[in-house]
């Protein structure tokens, strides 16, 4: 008489996931993320941001101040292998009031506007690199435009308006300064942005 067949044994022992433990860790992490997001939006904690693309941005501020503005030069290589020079500004202890930043994106279903406003923005350090400065108006007393112009090592500054991709239009305060630049990247540390308001849509107005 044959003995009963032994129970099936898996060919390879496999690990398992303990889902209750997974849920506990995931839930607490997501809660912490939500708290961090809320704290950063309200300005309670600073964040660091960096952007490398060329963006068609319009930027206006009511007032602007920085403890120091140190220009330097750098180099980069474009996708097609062309080496270009860029002008880099290192700003310390930056304070911006009445910030408005907008971006209009053209899509197959129409143009959409994204506008971000914040009454106050401070940063310990802010670095921005300009591919070129296309037009420069009167800024404010804090920003010494003469030195910036003299240090421009730029080649073949492109012509265009702020609606073209890759141009940043800047207007500061009542002096109505206007700067159109090609911004290559922006990087900031200890950014403290208070009471951010974000609106987007097809019928939204840009900053100016």
């Amino acid at each position: 008489m044959r003995s009963p067949t032994p129970p099936a044994r898996p060919a390879h022992p496999r690990g398992r996931t303990r889902w209750p433990r997974f849920s506990v860790v995931l839930g607490s992490s997501l809660t912490t993320t939500a708290l961090l997001a809320a704290a950063s939006v309200t300005g309670a904690i600073p964040v660091q941001l960096a952007a490398v693309h060329r963006h068609p941005l319009k930027l206006s501020v009511d007032s602007f101040s920085a403890a120091s503005i140190v220009p330097s030069t750098g180099g980069f290589e474009t996708r097609d292998g062309q080496r270009r020079t860029e002008l880099i500004f290192h700003l310390r202890d930056l304070t911006v009031r009445g910030l408005c930043l907008s971006n209009r994106v053209r899509t197959p279903v129409g143009s959409y506007t994204l506008r971000i406003t914040s009454p106050t923005l401070t940063a310990d350090r802010l670095t921005l690199a300009l591919d070129s400065i296309d037009s420069l108006g009167l800024l404010s007393q804090q920003l010494r435009t003469g030195e910036l112009i003299n240090l421009l090592p730029l080649q073949d500054p492109p012509l265009g308006s702020s609606d073209d991709p890759g141009f940043l239009s800047l207007r500061v305060g009542a002096a109505l300064a206007a700067v159109t630049v090609t911004l290559r990247y922006l990087s900031g540390s200890h950014l403290d942005v208070g009471k951010v308001r974000l609106v987007s849509g097809r019928a939204k107005q840009e900053c100016f």
């Binding site: 022992p13 960096a50 474009t78 990247y185």
Partner: protein, 141 residues
């Protein structure tokens, strides 16, 4: 006498692979066995998270000059999270500490690296780290 669990009996194969894997190639069977001994899902998701944190903020970046602190921290944190994912795959006995480290690094990336690689890397890191932490090794028997 009841036969022992691991003894072959009556000419039957010892580990009942009669229907399991019979349609798979030997390489796939080996891969299946390899993956079963480690938190492969957590390790894979964690590695993808590190890639997202390191690459997404620097998309299209043709490097000569690094873009400051925030850009650099993306490479550092992304690299650390990728390392955690690799260790999960190749040193599965460390899955607990690696899972918690991944979650913590992902949370740190929120404030230091473009909101955790535009949130994508952050969420992948949290899920991957949680999967790695909650993984249980196969029973020795």
């Amino acid at each position: 006498m009841t036969p022992r669990y691991d003894e072959p009996s009556f000419g039957e194969p010892p580990h009942e692979p009669a229907h399991e894997h019979e349609s798979l190639s030997p390489q796939m069977v080996a891969l299946y066995a390899w993956a079963g001994e480690r938190p492969w899902l957590g390790g894979t998701v964690t590695t993808l998270s590190g890639l997202a944190i390191a690459v997404l903020p620097n998309k299209g970046f043709t490097v000569v000059v690094l873009p400051g602190v925030a850009g650099l921290s993306g490479f550092v944190l992304g690299g650390l999270i990728i390392a955690c994912g690799m260790f999960m795959l190749f040193s599965p006995q460390l899955h607990g500490i690696l899972g918690i480290a991944t979650v913590l690094l992902s949370l740190v990336s929120f404030v230091t690296t473009n909101i955790g690689g535009y949130v994508i890397g952050l969420l992948l890191g949290i899920v991957g780290g949680s999967l790695g932490f909650a993984w249980r090794p196969p029973d020795p028997d």
